[in-house]
Amino acid sequence: MKYGILIVSHSPKIAAGVKDLISQAAPDLSITTAGGTDEDKIGSSLEKIQQAVDDNTGDEILAFYDLGSSKMNLEMLLEMTDKKIHKYDVALVEGAYTAATLAEVETPLKDIESNLKPLKIK
C-alpha cells in the first residue's frame, strides 16, 4: 500500500513549503497541495482540493489542513470523492512531516496513526 499526502492550507506558500519540507524526508511519496483561494489569496478552494486529490497517485491519501474553511472544504470533498482519504485533526506541519516520514518507509497505517495521535490539537 502506497500512501499519498494531501496538504490543504489557507496559504499557497504554506502548502508549497510543507511539500518542500516533507519531500526531503519522503522523496518517493505522492504529495499534492491545495493552498489558498482560486486567486491564490489567503483562503481555501474546493476546486484546488479536488485537483490535488485527482493528481495524487497514492493508493490511499493522508490529508492535513490548517484552519476552519480548509477543514470544511476538505470535508465537502470527502463527501464527493470515491478515493479513500484519511483526514487528521493534527498540527499541519508537524503532522504531515511525521506521517510522510513513516509512510516513506512503508509503515502500516495503524502505526502511522498512533504516531499522529499525540499531535492531535483540533
Partner: protein, 195 residues
C-alpha cells in the same frame, strides 16, 4: 406557506444585492473578531450567483438553490462558502421531489450549516440567526423584529466556533459577521414574502 420559483429567485437576487451593498459593513464586522474578509468573500459569492443565473436561468427550485450553493462553494473562499453552500445544497436536495414548507426549508438549511460547521446555537455564528428564523417561521411569527433580535443576540455571546473563537472572552461585544450576512438573507426573504 411555501415559496415558489419566481419569488425564490427574487429572494436570492435581493440577497445578492445586499451583499454587494454591504461588503464593507461585513468586512468591518469581521475585522473586529476575524480576518476582515467576510464582506469580500460574500461579495465574490454574490457575483458568482449572478453570473450563474445569467449563464443559465434556473428552471426549478432545486436548480435555483443548487446554483446558489455551487456559486458560494466555488467562489467565497472562506468558511462561509462551505457553510452557505451546504445550506443551499441541502435545501436543493430537499425540494427535488416536492416543495417544502418554508419553515422546513430553512430548518433544512440550518441543519446543513450545523453539520458542516460541527456547531450549534449559542456559538456566536450564523446559526444564531438561522435557527431562530426557522422557529419563527414554524410559529408563523417571522418578522423584522425576530431578525434583529437574532442578530443582536450574537453581540454578547462568547464565540466557540470559527475564527472569533480564538479570541474567547474578547469576542464579546461584537456582532458576528456571518450572523449579519444571514440577517441580510432573511431580510430579503421578508421583503419577498411580505412582512
Amino acid at each position: 406557506m411555501k415559496i415558489e420559483l419566481a419569488d425564490a429567485k427574487k429572494w436570492i437576487e435581493s440577497f445578492v444585492k445586499k451583499l454587494e451593498d454591504e461588503k464593507s459593513t461585513l468586512n468591518e464586522l469581521d475585522t473586529a473578531i476575524g480576518d476582515g474578509d467576510h464582506g469580500t468573500n460574500m461579495d465574490r459569492g454574490a457575483k458568482a450567483v449572478t453570473d450563474s443565473f445569467d449563464k443559465k436561468e434556473p428552471g426549478n427550485l432545486a436548480d435555483l438553490y443548487k446554483a446558489t450553493a455551487f456559486a458560494m462553494i466555488q467562489k467565497v473562499g472562506g468558511a462561509s462558502g462551505p457553510l452557505y453552500g451546504t445550506a443551499f445544497l441541502d435545501m436543493s436536495k430537499a425540494v427535488k421531489e416536492d416543495n417544502l414548507e418554508l419553515a422546513d426549508l430553512i430548518q433544512t438549511g440550518t441543519d446543513g450549516i450545523k453539520r458542516r460547521g460541527e456547531s450549534d446555537t449559542g456559538m456566536k455564528t450564523m446559526i444564531d440567526v438561522w435557527q431562530p428564523i426557522s422557529e419563527a417561521l414554524k410559529n408563523d411569527k417571522f418578522n423584522q423584529q425576530v431578525i434583529d433580535d437574532a442578530l443582536n443576540s450574537t453581540k454578547d455571546m462568547v464565540a466557540t466556533k470559527g475564527r472569533a473563537s480564538y479570541l474567547e472572552e474578547k469576542s464579546k461585544g461584537h456582532l458576528d459577521p456571518g450572523a449579519q450576512s444571514s440577517a441580510y438573507l432573511f431580510e430579503s426573504l421578508l421583503e419577498v414574502i411580505g412582512g
